[in-house]
Amino acid sequence: MGHLVKINYEDKKLFIEYLSERLTILSDSYVTHPISQMSFSYIIKTGKCLDENRTLLLQDYSDKNLTVHNFNNMNLPITMEPSKYGEIRISNTIDNGETIIRYMVVNGDKTYQIDVCNNGMVNKVTILGKINLSWIDTKINLDDSSFKREIGKSTLYFLDGEIFLQKLQLNAKSFKRFRHHKKPNK
């Protein structure tokens, strides 16, 4: 489920909340098989962990005043405008052969890194921090607000803030090739 997280004893409730958030991100919306067991490995250290290590647990998961896309109980903005993600703290231009404008946008406890590429046709969005969730939004039509979002194994198509098509790549096992027989059976 994740790497080592430092918490204090009194953080139990927060930690459970964090786990449930984390779990919903990891599981895929099309997968319906129940979780049969969870294993925790832990170590107890003397002393208290610092607030900077506990920030993860203190996040506010609700994004208000935005049309949102609910991805495994996490609300993601339905827009390709960086300013609609929250308050733009930094924007700079990176030129590695291709010009990318990188925005750092803060909303509540979430910090989004939005790389606007291909003349605004493609946004590569990452939620920074331990959640480390990222997706790619691509404009479908210049004349309207339609765009597609590729997130995990899913692709969602939005028009005017509504999903009009969603796709999910399914997993399967490939057919196996056979080997030749070396000699005839006689």
């Binding site: 997968v31 098989h33 009009f164 098509l165 796709k167 057919f175």
Partner: protein, 696 residues
Amino acid sequence: MLSHSKDFATIRNLINNFITMDIETIVINNQIIPYLICAFDGVNYIQSFGLNQEVLFAKFIKGLLTFFKGRSKILTVYAHNLSGFDGIFLLNHLIKFGTVEPLLFNGKLITIKIKLDIEGEHYGKTIIFKDSYLILPNSLRKLAIIFKTTEVKGVFPFKLKNISYNGAFPRLNTFINLTLNEYLSIKQEYKHKTWNFKTEALKYCKLDCLILFEILTQFNELVFNQFTINIDKVLTLPALSMRIFKTHFMPEKTVYQIHGKVANNIRESYSGGAVDVFIPHNKIGTYSISNVFRKLWSYDVNSLYPFVMYTKPMPIGLPTAFEGDITKVDSNAYGFFYCKITSPSFLEHPILQRIIKTSEGIRTIAGLGTWIGWIYSEEMYNAIKYGYSFEIIKGYTFEKGELFKSFIDKLYNLRLEYPKGHPMNQIAKLIMNSLYGKFGMRDEITKMEIYNSLTVEDQAILSSVLDLYDSTITDILELENHTLIVRNSLTDLTYNEKEDFFHGPEVNVAIASAVTAEARIHMSQFKNNPKFHLYYSDTDSIVIDSPLPDSMIGSALGLMKLEHIIDKAVFLAPKVYALITDSGQEIVKVKGLKHDAISKLHFSDLETLLIQDSTREFTQEKWFKSITKGTINTSDVIYTLKATSNKRQAVYIDGIYENTTPYFYNQIELVNNIYLPPVINGGFHNLFLFKILLMR
């Protein structure tokens, strides 16, 4: 490479690791009773003769054990038609000799494996009985001709019921399908000899074993030389075809297993070819007066399924599920779609067919109306050209890719390389046509398990097994200290939690469905075509009233072959018709009737059935098999060929079956098993087309 029987002598001296067997039977009180079993290992024969069934089979099994050579622990025994005949008798008798594992597929006994539990040197060894008919689906007589075996299959008076008979050569009426000339010629050989039942039966039975041995040896050699595959690795022809494909032609990571809900959804788009009667006869004018017939041309497509497999892209790669109208973002989206489908208000030959429940049972009908269902995208795009409309609700997309080109190329070239009479030509044809269906196989199988039920412990195990399998059990039978359980099984399907997919048999119904759909698309060019009238169509054939242009005719894959120019034709129902060709040849086809009964039918017999409410009866021997009881009984059954209707609405004019029109689904479909009569009654009493009714 081995070519024909000339080289067979060299092979015959080799010890092949399979055995061939045959059972001879007589009919006593309508029950088929085995009296002779022979087997052959390429060098020696064993035999067991007599009517005491226990002794007969015990002696046979004992004889089989002598075929175990050296340290070999497995013996493979082929019977031609094990699943339909020999296996039914064998199964019950094998239980006494060890642990029996029969394998059933679609209610057919495909193989029987027995692990011997007898004291002595053979303890723990295995005998596997296989059905050679499932690999070479032709009669032994035909195969002997194709493979040019050293001996031809013999004849035997199957209707002679006295196994102790010793005397004059039996009468002609004791033989089946023997002409007078053939009879007289064989009788001549016995001019100065007595004819002994046992001697002749042994000769006949051993000859069958020898012929089957030669055929399988040749077949194995031919397949191995071309594909480096031994036939003992497979049980059926489609499995052999799949093995060849997977060994030599299938690209890595191209074809994926499809199971569960995705498979069930796509399976709803999977149906076969369209078979329909459009115009029932070719007489011009009033039927009772006229004697003028319109000339008809009958064409077949050369290897329709291999042709579409060769030329059309196939659904490959991993499926992507979607919800919404996929064509809004990809106008050429490819895959299987769940849609609301609306046909044009009228179309003479509807090109989409549905499997629906009617008051007459489940039917595949190409009708008109609006419905919701699954369809292959290319069949949808084709139907749009004919005025159908679609609202896509959800579905699965696939990558489009070439999959079978090299496979078909190789087999088609083998057919060109070897003359028509050569077995390789036939083998290539069989392998080429058997592949696609294997992709569409269901992942559910029938399992037969035999449990001991003698001791208390055995009974406790049995009881827990019954609890475990519960409602999946379809049959339970007590057999002398054993209990046989027949159940449907999906247990080979396991869920891989780590990688989130089901792992089971290698099936992919998307590919099978795409093949049959592409074939229907190809055939749709002959429907609603203003250049000619379509009288009849089958999966890969048409009968029309105008010759096709030369550009469409030829020997290449997918081109049309002229089968007949027809002077007179009567089409009563799918696969029920009579023709008189321009060369005067009379052709009568009646699905469900055996050769014997059809040979007594003439064009005029079917022609009289065009008259409304007319019927004709046939008596035919039918076999009633019971795998669980190990018996085959025979009984005469009356078949009635009469005027009923199930695919298109019959149009009668002056009491004569003159034409057909498509059905509207809302007139014939049962909704939740409740039959909804049509609001408008016009002609609905004529709903019944021609159908063969079975009457006991």
